[in-house]
């Protein structure tokens, strides 16, 4: 049951991330990349196998094998991946903000989309 829940959760996150990434607004793309990043980080974590109630810290008197402990390496990897993903998202946000300020549009291609008018509110579904 846990495996099913986690696989479904990861799949939903990835699908949502990819769908948002394919949209034409920088904000949507950034949210999509963030969702995809969450999915990837969880995936790294789960690659150390799912264990409930096991710590990655050795205790005296318990044999040091993966049968008794959680795998510490994916936890270290995911920490690195989170930090790097955070920094990259920050860079992308700065670029997107600057692009919005300079081009007057949050379209990923800059200002080459007709400006929205009052009669036709901005379409969020532009491919």
């Amino acid at each position: 049951m846990m495996n099913f829940l986690i696989a479904t959760g990861l799949g939903t996150l990835t699908a949502g991330g990819i769908w948002l990434m394919l949209r034409a607004r920088t904000f949507d793309v950034i949210i999509g990349l963030t969702l995809l990043g969450y999915a990837v980080n969880l995936f790294i974590f789960f690659m150390g196998r799912l264990r409930v109630g096991a710590a990655p810290i050795m205790v005296d008197g318990v044999a040091p094998s993966l049968a008794n402990y959680a795998d510490p390496l994916p936890q270290a990897l995911v920490l690195t991946a989170i930090v790097i993903g955070f920094a990259m998202t920050a860079v992308l946000l700065v670029i997107a903000l600057r692009s919005h300020a300079d081009c007057g549009s949050d379209h990923v291609d800059g200002a080459d989309v007709p400006a929205p008018t009052a009669a036709a509110p901005r379409s969020r579904d532009t491919p």
Partner: protein, 532 residues
Amino acid sequence: MSWPHWIVMPIILPLISGAVLLLAARRAPALAARFALAATALLLAISIGLLARADGGSISVYLLGNWQAPFGIALALDRLTALMLVLTATVAMAALIYGCGGDDRRGAHFHALFQFQLMGLNGAFLTADLFNLFVFFEVLLISSYGLLLHGAGAARLRAATHYVSFNLAGSALFLIAVALLYGLTGTLSMADLAVRLSQLPADRTLLAHSAALLLLVVFFVKAALLPLYFWLPATYGAASAPVAALFAIMTKVGIYAVLRVTTLMFGAGAGSLTAVASPWLPALALATIALGAIGVLAAQHLRAQIGCLIVASAGTLLLAVGLARPDTVAAGLVYMVNSTLAAAGLFLLADRIGYARAGAGDALRAAAFDATRTAQAVLFFALAVAAAGVPPLAGFIGKAMLLKAAGTTAWALWVISIVLAGSLLLMVSFARSGSVLFWRPAGASPGAPPGGAQRLVAHHRAHGAALLALCGLLVMCSVYAGPLSRYTAATAQQLFEPRAYIAAVLGARPVAAAIDVRREMREAAKPGDAAK
């Protein structure tokens, strides 16, 4: 070169000099430029020293933090790594000399970002650990984002938005592949992965295949293979000249990673994973050559043309890697050295031409030139000859070796026809560009005297020095093509015998440290042994 820590110096040196430059750039810009030049020259010297060391044929391993592989991260120096280090430092030196001619003052922290980019590149070439490779990819990418935006402008912002988003998606795929491989084998050391993937139980080969192909897709994003190269011409065309010249080495990181992974982890001994890419990689590489060459022909601006040239040469290199034979790889490496130097030189020259023709920039149309026309025409001719692979310069030797080596494979007919047709297209396009730029400039725009250009030509000397150095190196590569091809042949031989690499990495033992903190902690935990 017997001091063990030389191997880690190509990473440490740019890190330290980048940090110093971060502090110094605002206060003393002139001093910062000199310091950056000195640091890069030192890096070049160290890389050449490491090349001499690797040319002995042995693989040197450096255990970071004195942890034994596969538990810690190891750096490994073999012939391929040493060649890439020297090529990177050479291109960086030329780009930096050119950048000191004024481009470095157009935005903040050019020199610091440049050094961090070198750190990422050198680390990616040196590391023998898959996750560490990811980390160094991110180091070189995050500095490349900064460098791409250097000098700002709307075109650069738009190119950067695409480039950053695309590479972030690539990084996500990289992490999925790395995590899958870790879940399957329980290790991240490339040498240990090579051993364990060959012993994988049969029910896991499908997952291992997915992981291997995902990993290759990520490297193809960096290397600009057919469906994944559309970001490249816009990005390279938008970057400032020294940055674009340095980026000429960036596609080679992808090609290096493909070469390393396919020979080491998915090589002859990898069981079901052997030659995981070979059914389709040559076909995609040939299509990349064809489309790159058409792009070169169709380009309206010189820099877009050079961007497409990089795509075509990446296709040629991936073809050499995809045919997966020692002689094709050796030929590809000869070609890589020449095409990288030529592409970097062309990017610098395109910028110089833009200065010399104030109104027209690098657009491929006739415009009035200032007095430097003849010198630039000669340089353009030399670089275009090298880039298109026409006889007197060594780009031709690389291509000829590749055709000869591919002649005995199943792809022979396709390789020969498409590589030759691509070369013809490149030659025609560059001949046309050269004649449009240099032969008919005077009469084309009589109303625009080149007076406007004079305010921009203040830093001739650095620009000329960088261009002459690159042209000189290309001539040197042609004169010393014998030693170069001997070296690349030995490199390919070493790559196709991965057992030596695996034995060197897994056999490296930690040195006995004067102060062993870990042992002291162990002994402190066991009070009975503390007397020892």
